[in-house]
């Protein structure tokens, strides 16, 4: 069961859209970070069940953040949300261990599908 969600995105507007797309009727504990470095620190601190991660960010991008998060916890469940929709980018982040990749802007349906996939891995 997913309780804690960490949203890592440099855009507050994007974070607001993501929060709006989360399934209603669920009481998630939500945490936010504005770049990959801050996201990594918050990940270490709160150990979220799922991390929603942007790729194109200042300071530390999502690729590096994903790698670092996986070093901290190889079982970390990371969903990548990005405007970079290149297939090779998708292949790259999946190889780094992402649960799935969804294009920006996300829809409620896509977020729910991604969380369902993450939840199935969490229960294993």
């Amino acid at each position: 069961m997913i309780n804690k969600i960490l949203i890592v995105d440099d855009s507050p507007v994007s974070r607001a859209i993501i929060k709006k797309c989360l399934p209603t009727g669920r009481n998630f504990d939500l945490f936010e970070a504005g770049d990959g470095k801050e996201g990594l620190e918050k990940f270490k601190e709160i150990r979220p069940d799922v991390t929603l991660l942007d790729l194109t960010m200042p300071v530390m991008d999502g690729f590096e953040a994903l790698e670092e998060i996986k070093k901290v916890d190889s079982n970390a469940l990371v969903i990548v949300l990005t405007a970079d929709i290149q297939q090779k980018t998708v292949d790259k982040v999946m190889a780094l261990g992402a649960v799935t990749v969804a294009p920006k802007p996300p829809s409620a349906e896509k977020i729910e599908q991604a969380l369902t996939k993450a939840e199935s891995l969490l229960s294993k």
Partner: protein, 203 residues
Amino acid sequence: MNTSQTGDIFSKDDAAILEEVMNLAFGKASADLAEVIDIRILLNVPRVEIMKADRLFLRIKEETKEYGSVSIIEQNFWGKYTGSAILAFPSTAGKGLLSLFDDDVNVGEEEAPLLEKESLLEVGNILIGACVSKVAELLEDIVSFSPPRLLPRVVINNLSSETISPKLDDPGKSAILIKTVFHFEDKDIKGFLFLIANQNSMG
């Protein structure tokens, strides 16, 4: 469509394919955006041109001069092909774009200017990311993106290569310019997307 100046970088057929890919890419991005903000985006047919780099800013000036000043979102990309994407909205568009997210964001008066900027950046990031990604796939490339950068309220007459990307203003080089005009229906917001790539990287 204007492919008469595509020179030795693209044949007319290549340019036509590129324009079609742009159409598809922008259509996909627009559809995704519309899903969130519940508004239709109308698109013009993309136009592909090759020109000397020092002409690029004159062309952008020509295209946007009716607005007097524009807010520009610039995002650089690099891979086998390298360049910049420039999204230009009239300076007055910030409030309109923020209103697209009204249901999503509760805005206080103090927060509004910041959120207007963030709305511009996010819309730019989505549209540029979708379009550049599709072009990269066409060229069997993978590109990396810099975070988007906002240049608010740039007076058109002051627009220069230094305002945007000095590295593209090498008069000895040619560049490819792809232009699309889009219009947010019911919001009276019009914008321009320019993709600029160095000739060397496109060869």
